[in-house]
């Protein structure tokens, strides 16, 4: 039996995480994700789980490192500038191969920026700001329901691959209210006894040590090769996009998150008002990037438009990853302005003939 509730995105994510069986949540206030930690502050203790309001985002991600290293199913959440502060800890979690979930509710930047929604943290999420050759799984929901579903998926992927997984949504999804189906059962557990530092080494027979330090370059190179092999496996298995218009072949709009939601409507308008059958391709994973599926989806098309609430960050990757004869256009804005259906329709019509627009990429 499913549980349906009318909730704000942030609240829905918090409740879902608890229901999926998160053991511990460590957070710090930052707009626009405050309702997430506020909800966690009561649903977690009420269900005998751990909630700590940390002294900083830096401390919160290190609590995650500790609790995940001790075998817990752990989550933190933050927004843009706060995620920037967590990067050191995310690199440590990736290096020590700790499963954990990071919910990133992006606002606008750079710097303190603003508190309105943007997708300007694409690079921050996909490429990270921590040191070293590491990767974070990045899921990109476009609705409150998808955000709820992605939290569950992030837990499963994090545990399957022993890797941090991020759910990246913008403040619009976090702040909107929607009817959502919440999980009814906790997700099944994976065995962590072979590696988690739980303080039972005598009964276990070996010491479990959580560490990312390898002073011997040969050992560190081998560790990096091991990580890369894992990342190749993730890229092979988990890259995902949704083609919202499988029967449209005149062109495409490529987007994720809130931009994808708006692009679905724009594609509809292009068909109804301009008789152009354009498909909306929604990227559901940003890392791994669904390169192969995207190449196939736009194969033979004269034009595809990237729509994003950032200044060409996604456009740059689409250019790099598609490597096709299809002309790639770009429409986007940032700073808290929400991209509109008009922006996308007009951008498509202007650029479909090959007219180049100015961009910094």
């Amino acid at each position: 039996m499913s549980q349906v509730e009318f909730l704000k995105g942030n609240e829905a994510i918090a409740k879902a995480a608890m229901l999926y069986g998160i053991d511990a949540f460590f957070g710090y206030p930052i707009t626009p994700q405050n309702e997430l930690i506020e909800t966690m502050s009561h649903v977690m203790p009420a269900n005998h789980r751990v909630f700590v309001q940390a002294e900083s985002e830096v401390a919160a991600i290190n609590m995650v490192y500790g609790a995940a290293g001790a075998g817990g199913r752990v989550m933190t959440s933050s927004s843009s500038v706060g995620i920037a502060l967590k990067q050191e800890g995310i690199s440590y979690c990736a290096g020590a191969e700790l499963p954990c979930v990071i919910v990133s509710v992006s606002r606008s930047g750079p710097g303190l920026g603003g508190i309105l929604p943007a997708q300007s943290d694409y690079h921050q999420s996909v490429y990270g700001g921590g040191n070293g050759d590491y990767r974070v799984i990045v899921l990109a929901p476009a609705s409150v329901q998808e955000a709820v579903d992605d939290v569950g998926k992030a837990i499963q992927l994090a545990e399957k691959y022993r890797n941090p997984a991020m759910v990246l949504l913008d403040g619009a999804i976090a702040q909107m209210m929607a009817s959502v189906v919440l999980p009814t059962q906790p997700l099944p557990r994976v065995d962590t006894t072979t590696w988690a530092a739980t303080g039972d080494f005598k009964t276990r027979g070996t010491r479990n040590v959580i560490n990312s330090l390898y002073l011997d370059p040969a050992k560190l190179y081998a560790h990096n090769q091991h990580l890369q092999a894992k990342y190749r496996e993730i890229a092979k298995n988990e890259a995902l996009l949704v083609d919202h218009h499988p029967d449209h072949h005149d062109g495409a709009i490529i987007a994720y998150g809130t931009s994808a939601k708006i692009a679905i409507g724009a594609a509809q308008r292009l068909k109804e008002e301009h008789r152009i059958k354009v498909k909306c391709i929604q990227l559901r994973t940003l890392w791994p990037f669904p390169k192969q599926a995207l190449r196939e989806a736009i194969k033979g098309m004269p034009f595809a438009l990237v729509a994003e609430m950032s200044m060409g960050q996604l456009f740059q990757d689409v250019l790099a990853f598609t490597r096709s004869d299809t002309i790639i256009g770009y429409v986007g804005k940032a700073g808290g302005e929400i991209i509109t259906s008009d922006d996308i329709v007009n951008g498509y019509l202007q650029q479909m003939g090959g007219e180049q627009i100015e961009h910094s990429v």
């Binding site: 053991d23 511990a24 460590f26 751990v50 700590v52 940390a54 002294e55 900083s56 830096v58 401390a59 919160a60 290190n62 609590m63 995650v64 490192y65 500790g66 609790a67 995940a68 290293g69 001790a70 075998g71 817990g72 752990v74 050191e88 800890g89 440590y92 020590a96 530092a197 739980t198 303080g199 039972d200 080494f201 005598k202 009964t203 010491r207 479990n208 040590v209 959580i210 560490n211 990312s212 330090l213």
Partner: protein
């Protein structure tokens, strides 16, 4: 033949990476002996920090996590909240605890996390080659205070005194590893700190004044005298906080 002395089972067989003359090895042994004597090795989780003691996870015969620089108390918080029945301790130097990790230690103490902190204060950044630490003494020469520490760089931070202002925490003592009696006293303090955790009394910290003869550019013997005669002038020994036998959790 009977065995009259043997290495504690609280330490692994891994040789220490510490410089000859350094007192980290002694403090490691004291902690390990206490863990063995309290029979808690099999339920202890060590949190190593960044600095000379970064490899503590290789030396203590327990499960362990290596924490980012300064973050050991936050990592310990995560571990302890997951496993409240386990014993969790951090082993941190003064650069790690009093400089980059000042926020994490203050707030872990303020939350009265039921963890134990072993704070090794040698008034210098040893591992990186002897730079000034927040604990460096006035006029002390380091590689970043070549003319001696001046007040414009700050005064030595007294972490034990600062943390002891928190009324609700369990135990704070400053000791030194300078000679036989002071080492035995340090061991008693470490034991008491772990007993506080076992009894769920809350946050406990033992600061140990320690030597860095290489960084200080002194002989090991002179270094021990320096702890005793000079460091204790700035960092007086004593119990700063003892909230007796009240369970706080």
């Amino acid at each position: 033949m009977s065995i009259v002395f043997k290495k504690t089972t609280g330490l692994t067989d891994k040789p220490f990476s510490y410089c000859p003359g350094c007192t980290h090895g002694i403090i490691h042994r004291l902690v390990a002996e206490v863990l063995e004597e309290l029979n808690i090795l099999d339920r202890t989780i060590t949190i190593a920090s960044v600095g000379c003691s970064v490899f503590a996870y290789d030396y203590f015969n327990t499960d362990a996590l290596q924490a980012p620089h300064g973050r050991a108390p936050a990592v310990a918080t995560g571990v302890k909240r997951m496993h409240p029945e386990k014993i969790v301790f951090t082993y941190q130097g003064d650069g790690d605890l009093a400089s980059i990790g000042a926020a994490e230690i203050i707030h872990a103490a303020n939350r009265n996390e039921n963890i134990t902190v072993i704070f090794v204060n040698n008034a210098i950044y040893g591992m990186t080659g002897g730079q000034m630490a927040p604990t460096t003494l006035p006029n002390q020469v380091t590689t970043t205070t070549p003319l001696g520490r001046e007040i414009i760089t700050g005064a030595p931070i007294k972490m034990s005194e600062m943390i002891a202002t928190m009324d609700h925490i369990a135990y704070v003592e400053r000791c030194m590893a300078a000679d036989g009696p002071s080492i035995m006293k340090t061991k008693r303090a470490i034991r008491k700190a772990f007993e506080c955790q076992i009894n769920q009394e809350g946050f406990s910290m033992v600061e140990v004044l320690s030597s860095c003869n290489i960084g200080w550019k002194m002989s090991p013997v002179d270094s021990l005298s320096y702890i005793k005669n000079t460091m204790t002038q700035t960092f007086p020994l004593g119990v700063f906080k003892e909230r007796k036998h009240e369970t706080n959790h």
